[in-house]
Amino acid sequence: MAMTARQRARVSLYVQAGIFVVAVAALILATDWKTLTTNVFNFGKIGPMFPDIFFSGLKNTLIYTFLGFIVGLSGGLLLALMKLSSFPLYRWIATGYIEFFRGIPALLVFIAFGYGVPLAFGVQWNVAVVVMVSLGMVAAAYIAETLRAGLQAVPKGQTEAARSLGMPQWRAMVTIVIPQAFRIVLPPLTNEVILLTKDSSLIYVLGLTAAQYELTKFGRDGISSLGAGLTPLLVAGAFYLVVTIPLSLLARKFESRSARTKR
């Protein structure tokens, strides 16, 4: 018996729902709930993580991210301006830098500055400095490309108008072009901060003291000390979401605002 298109669609929907129910049921039956609640969802044992997760883990994650972002933003702005420069040498340096740091894993950069610098120069940087430099230098490469796109999105007439009023090139850049470019790149820049928040965890490759633990390291430490299996890592993950989801919402808000008006 032939079915109409609408009937076929309804049957297909029933079949999909059926497969889903069967899959979930199979998963529930196959799961060893006792092991799972002991090793993964053992929230009864995570009490000792508080309140230190705020004052060590979360605090350090935020500090490391902030430091990396400051270096990344200033370096990124410099690189973006170099990339748009009329002087070829600046463009080559900026292009080389950006391609290099976007092309290698951030983890390698952390290792280079964490272990390489002491080997090469005999000085041991403070952990915060290692994060600031490593995260910042990688971030600068990505932020540079974002800012370059933003600077180029500001119409040429803006520079012409500013120059016609007697502003020197740098003044037109600082007063007229850069403020508009920042408004344009606010959403992608916020996403950049989200990436940095997560990448700040890479500092785990260095030996840290408890006071230097950021969220991921704090969670890993909980795995070995609390006897609750992976549970502390889930808690750390939840704390990342507490930071990243509001940032993501913020980015969306910036996006809809800039879609409404150019201001």
Partner: protein, 267 residues
Amino acid sequence: MNDVEIHSRTQSGRVHAAGVAIKDLRKSYGSNEVLKGISLDVAPGEVVCLIGPSGSGKSTLLRCVNLLEQPNEGSIHVGGFDATDADVDIDKMRRKVGMVFQQFNLFPHLNALRNCTIAQTKVLKRPQAEADKIARANLERVGLGHLADRFPDQLSGGQQQRVAIARALSMDPELMLFDEPTSALDPETVGDVLSVMRNLAKEGMTMLVVTHEMGFAREVADRVVFMDGGVVVEEGVAEQVIGSPTQGRTKEFLRRVLDPTHIEIAE
């Protein structure tokens, strides 16, 4: 059109006007020569309209005067400045030369008042209070004193263009360049902008205007210059060039522009 009644100049009385002297100006983009040896003098206080078909080089010529385009050959003198001298202080020269663009180019992140003060404070180093006072006087002058707090995206095209004129005037220019100032406007706002320009001309400002508004050129311009193919084809008093042109190309152009189905006379 009470809105655009121009109030008498509040700061310095009469305009201090500069002249322009352009000699054998040439400009090429690659192998495409856009200006093929242009000579043109504008006396202080004179209003000259540049007309001609698109691609005739009139906008390029205008943009060369404040060095938004770099000429290849020839000389331009503006006020006391030799614009084509490699050592000229471009920024200092541009302070004397106001520029009004077809697309307004207001700064969208600043309100009307700040658009008119930003260069005063950053370039002329005027104190904010003085800059505000001058900006408000000039916004008043273009009939927009009541919209000083509005941002560009809250203004109509004609209002934006008048803010752009006020912005240029706030620098106390001695010469004003207009690059097709009404071409991007809705027809009903063209008249407001033209009447601001007419009043500026009456105050004695030197004006070099690229325009397709033949009515305006005829009424306001002391002289009209017709350009085609990168050369000046014909120039003279407005009535003569527009009213009874002698050159074939001028006649042909005016016939097309003044075709009754396209005619737009503000008055």
